[in-house]
Amino acid sequence: MRMRIAAVGAAVVSCAVALAAQQKASPAHPDFSGSYERYGNVFGQPTPAQLADKTIPPRNPPAPLKPGPMKEYQDRLAAIREADRKGTPIATGYVNCLGDGMPSMMNAMFPIEFLVTKNQVTVIEEAFTQVRRILLDRPMKAVEDVEPGFFGYSVGHWDGDTLVAETVGIKEEIRYQNVPHTKNLRIKERVHLVSPEVLWNEITMEDPEVLEKPWTVTVAYKRLPNYTLLEYICEDNREFRDANGIQQIHVGDTGKK
């Protein structure tokens, strides 16, 4: 009996030690769950107040593309501008009701929600109801083991108060601001609060075939404390892509209620 008590006691102590060690090994991370909206000067020149606001990241640098991909990118931008000038815009994925994919969805064109749970951080972007999952403390897969998609495969871990995520497996046609990439694109994110209300996401794209060096852009989000993301279903999409890739619209009541 005395032995049994001693054994139980030892087990309790060792459990307590193990628990304490585990708690020490994974320090408490901030639960920044909630709804947010894009914060800062997204278009145009920042105002003096925005320049003074240290929770607004500085302007992002242009993509450091290698000469070949740079020419392709610039030609594409010129074609988009010319098509817009002529009133015949080139159809994008949006015309077919397709979501942004990664990492564009993290630009939060519409409000974005983070759900921080023990084994997963889930990100939902309101437009097109885009959802991605960052699996915590799971091994990364090789690019060839991930089927290409819009959101890819993401794993993450906590580095103190920062969520560190890595993503591979993005379809080549899913571009961030029209910047080309290969199937080997690797997206690294560092997500952390810079104030109780503002979350930053430092997004680094690595793709040595097309980029001279890793390209980091920073996106800020501000809390929307009383906002619940709305549904978004592409219910009556009157725009369409014609045979020449130009955006057109069906004119007239489609009969949708």
Binding site: R38, G87, L230, Y232, D236, Q247, V251
Partner: protein, 135 residues
């Protein structure tokens, strides 16, 4: 309703206006003012639509489909799906479709009670307005 109207006014300056697709197919150099009877206020994504019948000088009726923005954006600006009903007589400021078909982008709409609502068209300042008397 007063609260909703106040929301529209307050929110309009705060909500960032994003476009999911290009509005380049609409004429940015002029607007037309359409007075007509609503046949439907369609509350759908990716965009809402206002369908109106406009009486022509010869007595006939011409139907126009007016594109709005995402109903999510409109909701954040204070819009609700019941703000306009079939049968309402409205005045719409419209950027017409460049190809001449009877459709346009709705920049603002004045309701029978005089309220003027905007669906939050992105970069609305790039649409040059034509005074009604010059149309």
């Amino acid at each position: 309703m007063k609260i909703a109207l106040a929301m529209l006014c307050v929110a309009a300056s705060a909500v960032p206006a994003f476009a999911h697709h290009s509005f380049a197919m609409y004429d940015h150099t002029r607007t037309v003012t359409l007075k007509g009877e609503v046949t439907k206020f369609q509350w759908t994504n990716p965009h809402g639509y206002l369908e109106i019948d406009v009486k022509q000088r010869d007595g006939s009726t011409k139907h126009y489909s007016l594109e709005m923005t995402s109903i999510n954006m409109m909701t954040r600006l204070g819009w609700r799906s019941n703000m306009i009903k079939a049968g309402d007589l409205v005045t719409a400021t419209v950027s017409p479709l460049l190809n001449g078909e009877p459709a346009g982008l709705l920049l603002d709409v004045t309701l029978p009670d005089g309220r003027k609502l905007e669906p939050g068209v992105p970069a609305i300042q790039t649409f040059k307005r034509t005074p009604p008397e010059e149309q």
